[in-house]
Symmetry: C2
Subunit: 385 residues, 2 copies
């Protein structure tokens, strides 16, 4: 069953991972150590060049409102980067700098669709998508992908599910919570659909076994792309993202930005200029770190016989079926936290079908990841089964 | 006619002041000087204590995601400030730090009302209110105030306009574009209405002839208050605001924040701590500067016989009826800009009834304000009438 109906009038759900995080913090306040593999926040240091640029922005008084699209200098650098990486021309005036990729998602949906339009999201999905769609009064259609298919979108099945009411589709590639990239073939076919594609590429650049890509390679003019500086450059609290828009949508998106946000944080805009001065070698080092972390997790999962049928090629997540151990992974996560001090994200956050799954984030240091996986192993041997 | 219907399905309007600003920038690129009295952005310097705290946040790596409500330290300082200024207790957990007051307005509306609920805005109004309400699918009801009443809300008339569909009212005090504060009497009566009041107090602290106040003085528990650091502390590009919420609304607003914004910019949160270390004397200096600017504008308006029936007591705006000179102040603004190089905001941005008005912002330096008013005088003598 690829397609699932969705109750649109359900209230906004909490993030269950936040419940785990809050419980973890309670335990930490009592002085006990917790290993955090539940949150999608890189623990990498922000590059010193970025910090220097932030300081420079402050000392040169660059902290007033900017143009609502954002400073031209940064939009030009982003444009040049698309040219360099993918040989495509993206006019800087098609780029709108946003308050994190969160605001980029909001603006994309508001720009591309109307109230009551039907929008497809791919499950398992980033927890915020259905919530944001509910908040904005859009109708949600869930399209499932499966572990056996390496979580690739089955385009033929997808086509069957399109109706005249379907106006857009949000795809996240590389994806949270699976760490999987959609293949070039899938991206190409998505571009050919007669609905607006919103490609959330916030994990772009964090590909381990996969060449860095963008849906814009296959059609530089039609898809909306969401991206930002939080994940690749660990600039989470800086709240800076961007949207690449089709020409005809720019003016409307800009009006939304003026009314809803005015502009993205100015110091962050100036600091982000330096992300383009980070060398290829430094970036490789980061990817190698993630590769080492991921490979360790995969090996350990095999050791503890957690069944695994797909290849997490990117970003820093692995999504595991824990049905062998539980019918309710939220309870399992709470128990693992309390028994051995390891925090994991419960699958229910990523779709109703995943209440027996957990998401492991390997965005921490190798030592933390190693210790966390050992704790998981310890828990399963001692308390479960 | 106090009440005006509003076409809810009109598209998002542009900011007409942006058209003026863009035209002004075009002229500036040709090397001509423009005096900017059109934008609501203080040209005051950001206090060095704030800048120091921003630098300290960067050097001590305080730039990761924060709690979705924001850092407790800043929420506690805000809470203490309410206690000190108004002798009221606001639990820090009722304060949610937002990405500018823009996000605070968005979250307030989403928290307090449902789709299709009717919300009253007071005209003349901040241009974004109706646009945001349209974007969020709320119904807009315009309630007029009049210059002859010093733009005070006539509560008896307002009561007559309430229906079972009316769920909330947004009041901006001190107000953009009039620079007028609602009286304590009005605030008190607003608190007694059976609808949710959202009091946008972003210009709080910029009172010239009026004691600094808040609707929370009259009922600390029921109204939603929007505030921020952009106007009083000139921290515009830092994108930091906050909401004070009734206890029962906090959880829902926090869930919205998690899904839509994650958290407010972290460096700005830490920098804003220092706003509470700015001395009373320094604040007085600022108010005296604005007082001098305002008084100059008022005197000059009298000199050039622009009719004027109200008292702009706060903030940095004066809203002038220019019907003596024009039927269309957008055209007038364009002409003034092109003929003498002065930029003003056209009244149409603040409500359909105001297309013969202009807004003068005296947030610039005294010299600029003086030069601007002389240019206006020159224009009226030479080109008009």
């Amino acid at each position: 069953m690829y397609l699932m109906s969705y109750i649109n009038n359900t209230p906004i759900s909490p993030f269950y991972v936040m419940e785990i995080l809050e419980e973890a913090q309670k335990i930490e306040r009592k002085g006990k150590k917790i290993i955090h593999l539940e949150i999608g926040e890189p623990t990498e240091e922000v590059d010193s060049k970025i910090l220097l640029s932030a300081n420079k922005a402050i000392s040169s008084k660059k902290y007033k409102y900017t143009n609502s699209l954002g400073i031209l200098e940064l939009r030009t650098r982003i444009s040049k980067d698309y040219k360099k990486k993918f040989k495509i021309n993206i006019d800087p005036d098609r780029i709108l700098l946003t308050t994190g990729s969160s605001a980029a998602i909001l603006l994309s949906i508001l720009t591309a669709t109307k109230k009551n339009d039907e929008i497809i999201i791919i499950s398992p999905h980033y927890p915020c998508y259905p919530q944001i769609l509910k908040i904005l009064g859009r109708k949600i259609k869930i399209f499932n992908t499966y572990e056996k298919d390496n979580y690739q979108i089955d385009i033929d099945e997808l086509k069957k599910s399109l109706t005249t009411k379907t106006k857009a589709l949000i795809v996240n590639t590389p994806a949270n919570p699976t760490g999987v990239s959609q293949s070039e073939e899938v991206l190409k076919k998505l571009c050919k659909l007669k609905i607006q594609i919103i490609s959330d590429e916030i994990y772009q650049g964090l590909s381990i076994d996969y060449q860095v890509t963008s849906i814009l390679k296959h059609n530089p003019n039609k898809p909306i792309v969401v991206n930002g500086f939080s994940k690749l450059y660990s600039m989470t609290g800086w709240r800076l993202g961007y949207i690449v828009l089709p020409v005809k949508m720019v003016r409307y998106a800009q009006k939304l930005q003026q009314n809803m946000f005015i502009c993205a944080p100015t110091i962050s805009q100036h600091a982000a200029l330096s992300t383009f001065d980070i060398s290829v070698n430094e970036k490789k080092k980061l990817i190698n770190k993630y590769k080492k972390n991921r490979n360790f997790v995969l090996k350990k999962l095999k050791d503890i016989e957690i069944k695994f049928e797909y290849e997490p090629d990117s970003a820093f997540y692995i999504f595991c079926d824990m049905s062998k151990y539980t019918n309710n992974s939220l309870n399992l996560c709470k128990e693992i936290l309390n028994k051995v001090g390891l925090a994991l994200a419960p699958g229910i956050d990523f779709g109703k079908r995943y209440k027996k799954f957990v998401r492991i984030s390997y965005a921490s240091s190798y030592e933390e990841v190693k210790e966390g996986m050992n704790l998981l192993s310890k828990y399963l041997k001692k308390y479960n089964k």
